[in-house]
C-alpha cells in the first residue's frame, strides 16, 4: 500500500506544486464570496479533484493495471489505495490552504480571509468523499477516458442535487422539521461526528462496489 501511495506522490509532484499556485489564484477569485466556509470547501474540492483525476489519468495512460496485477498485490490493495489517497489529498489540500492563507494574511492581500478550521476541514472531507464515492466506482468500471463524462455529470448533478434536496426538505415540512429540531439540539461536535461517519460509510460502501467491479476486470 505504501508503495502505491509513494507512486502517486512521485507522479503528482508537479500537480502538487502547481496546486499551491492554484490555491493563491482561487483565494483571490473566491474572496468575493459571502460565505467564508464556502471559500475553503471550494478551494479544497478543486485541488483534490485535480489530483484524483490526474492520478487516474496517469495510471490509464501508462496502463499500470497490467503491471500492478502482475505484481504480488491483491486487487483490494490496488482499489483501497485510491480511496486512501482521498484522505491524503484532503490533508495535503488543508496543509496547502493553511500555508497559503497564512502567507496572504501576513501580506494583508485579502481582507476577511477565511482561515483553516476543523469545521471547514470536515465539510471539505464530506464533499470530497461524496464526489470520490461516486466517481471511483465509475473509474474502476470504465477507466479514465470513458469516466470523464460521468465526472462532468456528477459535478453539475451535485449542484443541481443540492438545490433539489433543499427544496424537497422545505416542501416536506413535517420531516424536515423533525430533522432540523434533532440537529438543533445537538452540539457541533455531534453533528460533525455524524456527518464524518456518514462520509466514511459512503467511502466504505463505494470501496466495496469498486472492489467488486475491479475483481471482474480484465486487462
Amino acid at each position: 500500500m505504501l508503495s502505491l501511495i509513494l507512486k502517486d506522490i512521485y507522479l503528482l509532484r508537479k500537480t502538487m506544486a502547481f496546486s499551491v499556485f492554484y490555491m493563491f489564484v482561487m483565494l483571490f477569485v473566491f474572496s468575493r464570496l459571502d460565505n467564508p466556509a464556502a471559500v475553503f470547501t471550494s478551494c479544497m474540492v478543486a485541488i483534490i479533484y485535480l489530483m484524483i483525476v490526474t492520478g487516474c489519468a496517469l495510471d490509464e495512460k501508462n496502463k499500470s493495471d497490467v503491471i500492478f496485477n502482475s505484481l504480488p498485490l491483491s486487487r483490494s490493495v490496488i482499489v483501497g489505495e485510491k480511496y486512501l489517497m482521498v484522505i491524503v489529498y484532503v490533508l495535503f489540500g488543508a496543509a496547502v490552504y493553511g500555508i497559503v492563507t497564512r502567507v496572504i494574511g501576513l501580506l494583508g492581500l485579502i481582507p476577511n480571509l477565511s482561515f483553516l478550521t476543523l469545521e471547514g476541514l470536515l465539510a471539505a472531507f464530506i464533499v470530497v468523499s461524496f464526489l470520490a464515492s461516486i466517481y471511483l466506482p465509475v473509474y474502476f468500471k470504465f477507466g479514465y477516458i470513458r469516466s470523464k463524462i460521468y465526472y462532468f455529470i456528477l459535478f453539475f448533478g451535485m449542484f443541481f442535487g443540492i438545490s433539489l434536496l433543499i427544496s424537497v426538505i422545505s416542501s416536506d415540512s413535517q420531516n424536515a422539521g423533525s430533522l432540523l429540531s434533532f440537529l438543533a439540539v445537538q452540539n457541533g461536535a455531534v453533528i460533525g461526528i455524524i456527518l464524518t461517519g456518514a462520509a466514511l460509510a459512503m467511502l466504505a460502501a463505494s470501496f466495496g462496489i469498486s472492489l467488486k467491479i475491479y475483481k471482474n476486470r480484465e486487462f
Partner: protein, 288 residues
C-alpha cells in the same frame, strides 16, 4: 519431475477468437519457447496465466499451486517481461524500482544494482527517455532481482535490434544455467528459440499444435524439396503443407521414411527450422 507451470484444458472465448482447451507443462530448469503467428493466442495464454484475463474453463498450476487461490504467493516467485513498457514513463528507473522493491518478499538490492551496472541502465533518466532496448533491459532487471523461480515473457525481443536481442538471449541462458529457474518465453521470432529453447509449444488459431522437446520436434519433421510434377493429389496428403513455384516444390512432412519410400532419391530431405514448421502449419490453417 517438478512442473513449474502446468496448463490444463485452458479455454477462453472472445468474440471472433477462442483459445481452445489448451494444455502443456514446463519443468524446472528449462526454457520453453511459446511460438505462433500474430493472433494465435500467445498473449491471451500469458494473460490467463497471470490472471489478467479470466478463464472460462481449465486449470493453471504454477509451482503446483492454483494460480488464483495462491495468486500472491505465486507472483512473488514470478518475474515478468511484457512486449511493451508498462512502467510509468514519467518516473525514473530508480523511482520505479523503489516502488516495486517493497512489494516482493525476496527483493535483492544487490542483484538489482549488479544488473543496472551490467546493462548500463541510466537510473536517473525518465523511462520515456530510454530506448526500447533499455526499457526492456530495465524490465528484465526488475524480473531478475527478486529471486524468481519462473520467468514469464511475452514477446520480449520484438522490436529489439539483433545485438540487443542476442544479449537478451545470452542473459536468459545464463539465468537457467543453475537449472533451478525456468523460462516461459513467447515469440514469433523463432530464430531466438533456435538458440536458447529446450522445449517448444506451438499454438495456432487458439489450439496447441505440439508441445515437445525442441530437438525431438526438429528430428520428427522433415523439409522435402523436389521438382514440379512429383507431387500429385495423393502425395499431397502426406504433407502438412506444400509450397509450389515454377522451380519446384517445398513441403513439410512428419514421416521421413514414408517420404523416402514415396519419392526415393528424387527429392532432397532437410531438417526444417522452427520457422519452416510454423509457416507450413500456419498456411495450412489459413487454407483450411
Amino acid at each position: 519431475m517438478d512442473n513449474m507451470l502446468q496448463v490444463q484444458n485452458l479455454t477462453k472465448t472472445f468474440k471472433g477468437f477462442k483459445l481452445d482447451n489448451i494444455s502443456f507443462s514446463l519443468e524446472k530448469g528449462y526454457i520453453m519457447g511459446f511460438i505462433g503467428p500474430n493472433g494465435a493466442g500467445k498473449s491471451t495464454t500469458i494473460k490467463l496465466i497471470m490472471n489478467l484475463l479470466k478463464k472460462d474453463a481449465g486449470d493453471v498450476l504454477v509451482f503446483g499451486l492454483d494460480h488464483i487461490k495462491h495468486e500472491k504467493e505465486i507472483k512473488n516467485r514470478i518475474g515478468f517481461v511484457y512486449d511493451e513498457n508498462y512502467y510509468y514513463e514519467e518516473l525514473t528507473p530508480k523511482q520505479m524500482a523503489g516502488i516495486i522493491a517493497p512489494l516482493y518478499k525476496n527483493w535483492d538490492d544487490n542483484a538489482f544494482n549488479s544488473y543496472v551496472k551490467r546493462f548500463e541502465l541510466p537510473l536517473n533518466k525518465k523511462i520515456k527517455e530510454l530506448s526500447k532496448g533499455m526499457r526492456m533491459k530495465f524490465s528484465l532487471a526488475i524480473a531478475l532481482s527478486h529471486n524468481a523461480d519462473l520467468l514469464i515473457m511475452d514477446e520480449p525481443t520484438s522490436g529489439l535490434d539483433p545485438i540487443i536481442r542476442n544479449e537478451f538471449l545470452d542473459i536468459l541462458t545464463g539465468v537457467c544455467r543453475d537449472e533451478e529457474k525456468s523460462v516461459f518465453f513467447s515469440t514469433h521470432i523463432t530464430s531466438d528459440l533456435d538458440k536458447v529453447a529446450d522445449y517448444i509449444t506451438f499454438i495456432c488459431d487458439g489450439k496447441i499444435v505440439f508441445s515437445s522437446a525442441k530437438d525431438d520436434i526438429l528430428e520428427s519433421y522433415c523439409l522435402v524439396k523436389g521438382a514440379n510434377g512429383l507431387v500429385g493429389e495423393e502425395e499431397k496428403k502426406s504433407f502438412i503443407g506444400i509450397r509450389e513455384n515454377r522451380f519446384g516444390f517445398e513441403g513439410l512432412a512428419k514421416d521421413r521414411n514414408r517420404i523416402r519410400r514415396m519419392f526415393g532419391d528424387n527429392v532432397v530431405i532437410d531438417r526444417p527450422t522452427l520457422e519452416d514448421i510454423m509457416l507450413f502449419y500456419t498456411r495450412r490453417n489459413q487454407n483450411a
